[in-house]
Structure formats: structure tokens, C-alpha cells
């Protein structure tokens, strides 16, 4: 049992946004994790990007899903009630294309969830996304506007692409955010050597980026706010490193693509480590 934002979570192993849909499928996994971060939700429904959307790289993957989702209305109507039956600890990953959109999505959902994760770091959309997250002023502005519309905890999901997450993180906290999560995917590119043009441009994730993610999380400890550590966590040992580096909890991303049951294993392994075993 851990406590963040004065809310109790059954354990510090969460599922990162985008890799588990809405948690409706492997229900015993959804049920067992500390919290679920939903796939990114936009104001209007989105089809997402054309394929290829996933490509494997050394110890990692590049994804370019492009925020495929049914939009906030449909999410609230038909999905949210079903998730809540499985696990009540839900953070909705909010992806706006304008400052106002973030606020609208948050307002639409209201206090039906545990909190919000403002996604200002998606590298897979043409507008918004990572461009907001690279700019401390923009990021703070989004937090300020959203803050006025909700009392639920606001976590800001940071990027470390071409910007310092400490600077952006500080700006967000000063603007009223309650916590930070990082890192979102790094930029990544693979070329198609036959066609001689890019095969996929998207976000790099997986164990490949773990040492960099850990560095970023460790860097944020001076802010003394709750941080959710994300990036390449595959085992309880990896999760433990993030906790030692200052994270209050961790979120599992790519590991779930390799094994949908990975969170269950990680919860167990971490528990053993926290109890002093090995």
C-alpha cells in the first residue's frame, strides 16, 4: 500500500498510458496494478496514424500510433464505467491540441477518475504534443488553465526530447500541478534502405531508454514532488531502481507488449526486493 496525493494505491506498479488500451482485456492485470493510465484521450475521436505503427529496434520499439481513441464523449459514455468496475484507480491521459482542449477534456470527465495525466509529450502528432512539453511557458499555461477546472490530482507527463524535464517540470509544479510522470518516448527514426526514405518516425521506448529515463527521474528529485518513473521497466529490479532514484511509483509501458502479464510479475519481484529479499 502506498499513498500519493493523499490517495491510497495497492502498490506502486502502474500501467503506462497507451500500452494496455483501457484495461478491459486482461482484467486480472488491470485489477492488480496500483493504477491504470488510460490510452491518450482527445476531445474528438481520432483514427490514429497509418501503418507501420510499430517497429522494433535494439532493445526497444518505435511507435507511431498517433493517439487513436474514441474521443472523450464516447470514453465517458461507454468505456469509463467499465474500467471503474475493474480498478478504481484511473488516471486519464489527456491529449489536447490547444490549451483549451485540455481543459475541456478534463471538465467533461469531471471527478469520475482518480486524476489526470496531461500528455504534453506525445511525439506522434503534428500539432501540440511534444511541442507543448518542450516549452516551460506553454506547459505551465496548460496546467494553469486545467487547474481551474478540476480538483483532482494533475500529473504532467514530461518529455526529455530536446528539453530539460527539470525546467519544464518546475514550471508545471509552480503552475499548480500535483505530480510529474516521465519519460514519454524519445524521438526515433528508422530508414527503409530499399525505398531510401523514412520507414517510421515515432517514439522510442523499451529497455533501451531505461538508463536515460532513470537519469531524468533522478534529476527531478530536487523538486520534491511525487514523480511516476517510466521508461523501459521490465523487471521488479528495474522498478526498484526508479524508486531508489526518487520515484513514488513506476509505470510499465513496452514490457506489456512483450508480455501482457508483465505487471503481475513486476509487482511480485518488486515486493520481494522491498521486503529485503533478492
Amino acid at each position: 500500500m502506498i499513498e500519493i496525493f493523499n490517495i491510497e494505491f495497492q502498490n506502486p506498479v502502474f500501467i503506462a498510458s497507451g500500452v494496455f488500451g483501457f484495461g478491459l482485456k486482461y482484467k486480472n492485470v488491470t485489477r492488480s496494478v496500483g493504477a491504470l493510465f488510460t490510452k491518450g484521450i482527445t476531445l474528438l475521436p481520432r483514427m490514429g496514424n497509418p501503418p507501420p505503427r510499430i517497429y522494433e529496434t535494439p532493445c526497444g520499439i518505435i511507435n507511431s500510433v498517433g493517439l487513436e481513441n474514441p474521443g472523450v464523449k464516447e470514453f465517458c459514455r461507454s468505456i469509463l464505467p467499465r474500467i471503474k468496475k475493474i480498478n478504481s484507480r484511473i488516471f486519464v491521459n489527456v491529449a489536447g491540441f490547444t490549451v483549451e482542449e485540455y481543459a475541456q477534456i478534463v471538465e467533461e470527465i469531471g471527478d469520475r477518475v482518480t486524476g489526470f495525466e496531461l500528455n504534453i509529450s506525445c511525439p506522434n502528432v503534428k500539432e501540440g504534443g511534444v511541442l507543448f512539453g518542450q516549452n516551460p511557458k506553454m506547459a505551465a499555461e496548460i496546467v494553469r488553465v486545467v487547474r481551474k477546472r478540476t480538483r483532482c490530482p494533475i500529473i504532467v507527463k514530461l518529455t526529455a526530447n530536446f528539453c530539460d524535464p527539470l525546467k519544464v517540470g518546475r514550471a508545471c509544479i509552480d503552475a499548480g500541478a500535483d505530480g510529474l510522470s516521465l519519460i514519454n518516448t524519445l524521438y526515433g527514426l528508422v530508414f527503409d534502405i530499399k525505398a531510401k526514405k523514412p520507414l517510421i518516425t515515432g517514439g522510442l521506448s523499451g529497455p533501451a531508454i531505461r538508463p536515460f529515463a532513470l537519469y531524468c527521474v533522478h534529476r527531478l528529485r530536487e523538486l520534491k514532488v511525487p514523480v511516476i518513473g517510466i521508461g523501459g521497466i521490465m523487471t521488479g529490479r528495474d522498478a526498484y531502481e526508479f524508486l531508489l532514484a526518487g520515484a513514488k511509483a513506476v509505470a510499465i509501458g513496452t514490457a506489456v507488449l512483450r508480455d501482457p502479464y508483465a505487471p503481475l510479475r513486476i509487482i511480485e519481484e518488486l515486493d520481494t526486493l522491498l521486503k529485503g529479499g533478492k
Binding site: G21, G48, P52, R53, N63, L257
Partner: protein, 248 residues
């Protein structure tokens, strides 16, 4: 749907770069089109599992037929009889076969899931023609089995001595009006061509692509079907060819 640690009870080379693996795994009720995600190794490189179709399943014996096309299948090919493999599944929608005279069109390694389909048709006593094209004669695997199984079987290769061509070039010789359903699996280019032929009966295409999770979670396996993106792994892998939009 879960992980199974299965032992290879028989591994065989069917051609220079195609091999089969047989496992014992009881209690499945798989249908054609379904597949497993195979864990390539315990290291994180390659990181993701690889999807391989059920090529046959009978009395607890599961058959897979794999062609080496890259690193994952290369590593897999080094496994020997007696080695253990972690597989996750069965995944994918169960295809409901039509009770109509059927045309099976296999291009290359596309034969793998269609072999299981053919056996299912046979079991349901549905008459079918099996057209199977490959690049060279030695790449035509399971030829004898398919011959035995099918009411009619036509084999063709691109380097064929008397007659050269692809699976699709054979279709012109058939009386297509006879058939009430088609099933196709092969390279994307074959499916694209086949769609253009605009056959008068429904054709079910077995789609193969690079997958992420393989089980409906990550939205990484999009294919455009009737105007929106579907997941190959969960909504497919079999789709009616007419609805597929290849954009090329």
C-alpha cells in the same frame, strides 16, 4: 489465452529456409487464422514476440511452419527437437468457414495458415481447390500433403520449367463461377492484385504484418478496413478482402 512452455517434439527443414516445428499442447480448440506469439529468446533483443500461425492442430499436436525472413525467425530456426519455446495464445479471431465450394490461394509461406484451413474444410466435407505458388519448386512445402487433402491442387512456381507464374496467374485457368468462397494468404502484393481481380465470391484474406503486443492492447497493428483502422491481431487476422484498403 496464456503463455505455454512447450517442447519441440519434431523440428524439420522443409526447404532451405522453411522449417516446421511440432509441439504437444492439449486442450485447444483453435480455428484457422489463429496464431501464437512466439518468444524468440530471453534477451531483450529482439524485444517482441513473433506471430506464427497454427498450421495444423490435431489431437494435441500443434504444427507451425516458419520461413526465415529476418533476425527473429533466424534465431528461432536454430532451435532443435527437444528445445523448449514459450508461446502465447491462441490469438486472433476464429474464422468461420463457409459451406461453399472454396478456392484457397497460397503465395509463399502464406501456405502455413491455409494448410490448417484446408484440413478444416476437408473435415467439414467442403469441396475446395488449393492453388499454391512459390518462387522455386523447392519452396513448395507440404506439396504431397496438400495434394492428398484437396479435391484439386495446382502448384506453380516463378521459375517453373513447363509453366511459370504466380498463384494468381493460375486463377485464369479455373472456372471461377464454380466457387462460393475464397481464402488467400501471401505477400501483400498478391493480396493487392487479388483485390483488383474483383472475384464474384467473398474472399477472406489472412493478413500478416509486424505486430506489437499481438493481443489487442497496443493498437500497433492497424490495417484499414471499410474506412477505419482495425487491429490485425484482434479484429483479424482474417478480413474480407473487399473491405481492405491498401492505399497502393
Amino acid at each position: 489465452m496464456m503463455w505455454h512452455l512447450v517442447k519441440i517434439i519434431n523440428k524439420e527443414w522443409l526447404s532451405r529456409d522453411i522449417f516446421s516445428m511440432e509441439f504437444t499442447l492439449h486442450g485447444l480448440k483453435p480455428a484457422p487464422g489463429q496464431f501464437f506469439q512466439i518468444r524468440i529468446n530471453e534477451s531483450y533483443d529482439p524485444l517482441l514476440s513473433r506471430p506464427i500461425s497454427i498450421a495444423d492442430y490435431e489431437k494435441g499436436r500443434l504444427l507451425m511452419i516458419v520461413k526465415i525472413v529476418g533476425r527473429g525467425t533466424e534465431i528461432l530456426s536454430k532451435k532443435k527437437t527437444g528445445d523448449e519455446v514459450l508461446i502465447f495464445g491462441p490469438l486472433g479471431k476464429k474464422l468461420k468457414i463457409k459451406n461453399k465450394k472454396s478456392l484457397i490461394i497460397a503465395g509463399g509461406i502464406g501456405v502455413a495458415p491455409l494448410y490448417f484451413l484446408a484440413k478444416s474444410l476437408k473435415k467439414a466435407r467442403i469441396d475446395f481447390t488449393f492453388v499454391y505458388g512459390a518462387r522455386t519448386p523447392s519452396e513448395l512445402v507440404l506439396k504431397d500433403e496438400i495434394k492428398k487433402l484437396s479435391s484439386r491442387a495446382v502448384f506453380i512456381t516463378e521459375t517453373g520449367s513447363n509453366k511459370a507464374g504466380t498463384a494468381l496467374s493460375v486463377l485464369n485457368e479455373l472456372n471461377l463461377a464454380e466457387y462460393g468462397a475464397g481464402y488467400a494468404c501471401g505477400p501483400r502484393a498478391m493480396l493487392v492484385e487479388l483485390k483488383k481481380m474483383n472475384l464474384q465470391f467473398p474472399v477472406y484474406a489472412f493478413c500478416e504484418d509486424f505486430l506489437g503486443c499481438g493481443c489487442g492492447l497496443c493498437l500497433g497493428c492497424a490495417i484499414k478496413y471499410k474506412g477505419s483502422y482495425k487491429r490485425i491481431c484482434e479484429d483479424g487476422p482474417v478480413f474480407e478482402l473487399k473491405g481492405l484498403e491498401f492505399n497502393d
